[in-house]
Amino acid sequence: MELLVASAIGVLTAAGIYLVLRQRTFPVIVGMTLISYAVNVFLFASGRLVVNMPPVLRDGVDSYTDPLPQALVLTAIVIAFGMTAVIVLMSLGSFISGRTDRIDLSPKQDASE
């Protein structure tokens, strides 16, 4: 299971970084979404990987899973979701007003402003 989780995080991050380095806004946003998925899985793993353990204290149970990373992941998901919505809207605004979805700013356009 450790191998599976670790390789999932690695593949997601690698794909995310590749996409983020593209020149158009759409792949960049998809890439950042992939990275945020990788972060969420990583945060789960930070509380140690266990299966079928209760997170809350209970009689007759000796070992537990760590409940805190689940709360952290929930917060991270909400924030990542909101941020993705913001950047999608800004990219649309940039595309509509600037007539291009390239993410770089060329010096020529810079000077003509």
Binding site: V39, F42, S97, G98, E113
Partner: protein, 508 residues
Amino acid sequence: MTHWIIAPIVIPAVLAAIMVLAMRGNLFLQRVFSGAAAVGMLVLALGLLVQAAGGTITVYELGNWPAPFGIVLVLDRLSALMVLLSAVLALVVLAYAAGSGWDGRGRHFHALFQFQLMGINGAFLTGDAFNLFVFFEILLIASYGLMIHGGGAMRFRAGVQYVAYNLLASALFLFALGTIYAVTGTLNMADIAVRVAALGPEHTALMRVGAILLLLVFAAKAALLPLHFWLPETYANAPAPVAALFAIMTKVGAYGILRMFTLAFGPGVAATEGIAGPWLMAAALITLAIGMIGMLGAERLGRLAAFGAIASMGTVLVALTQFTPQSTAAGLYYIIHSTLAVAALFFVVDLVRARRSEALRPAPAIAQHGLIAALFFATAIAMAGLPPLSGFAGKLLILDAVRGGDHVVLIWAVILATSLVAIAALARAGSLVFWGGSGGGVKAAAVPATLRPVPLIATVALVAAIGALAVFSGPVTAYLDATAAQLHAPQGYIAAVLGPVSLEGGLQ
């Protein structure tokens, strides 16, 4: 009385929500409430500063949960100082934005402004690492809105870059926190400090990875080279009052480095020893040099001011990365100075932009030519670090603080040489903009009715504040010395948060 600590977070949060819900179409009401909140915040910040000045560390437990389990807010000298600095800056920026009409060029300026203040104050006050992340996100998401306030293709495109960059930095922040939590099992800053100090050698490698990741995040926020790429386009294309407010945002990154790397990953901690100081100092020196060279190469006033912001962050971090009490105090003085000076420079840039093109080319004399030229001259003196303004005192303090260190020749050479470059850059810009076209007795243009006096007053007030910082540098440095002493004795902070028990080997 203790509940006042949370007021700098709660007041903007509630006010911003009310503004969006009840005053969305009424700019006048928004201005009144926003202004009243800014004045109230200044009084509150002064009160908190007085409370913290005696050296007591006040801990506020949210929901009354005991320290390592619940989130805490911690008010020490550093937090109180930073909250006061942001309150002063917010008041001036608000006056400028309302006076120049910038706040009416798009919707929800005041609500976003209050959310931004909530995030900044929260980041300065929190004593929990994950809570710090949340407040970072709050101040960032508000800054995204403020950045594109007023619209325009260029602003949108620069905004997309800014958001993309910061989303990546946020992801890195979460990776860092996950790593730190995996090693220490806690996210309370004081508790992290206790656990890191007691860490066995088998966990050192992972701990160092976490600390470095965290350092990278703060370095990105502080625009430290080579993570500074987001700053020039963002600051040059943001509305000028917003860029002036952003002057405090880079300081949040510097605050993060200072807080975490004196409290938890400090010089005396075996597990993370030597990961921050040496190469961070090199990066800071290069940041300073590149910032000043960027000023010299700028073709527009906005970019000049943006590179000035980078250079001043370089100076701050050169001082902070020495991690001695004296250099920390000097760095804190320069943080105050550079926040005010960069904001003032952006105000002057906007005063020029309202009257002519900001390109560094000769043009006919502008309205209120003499006054604006004088203001530019004053802020240029402050940015370059010439006497009599506080930039000189700040650089002197830094030069004096590094005198006993290993790299004194290098630091002195870079700081003094870059100051010379800054003088050249600012003199070049000032002569091109203010002298280029006004020779030969050309009369300055008349003042159009659309130009209002409040922006000028706000700019003069900011320059006066820089002057006051120089005049009162005695009392200010006394407070900053005490602040640095408190930071470099983290036992006091830890004992205040966790109680005296935890000092003997943690809470296991």
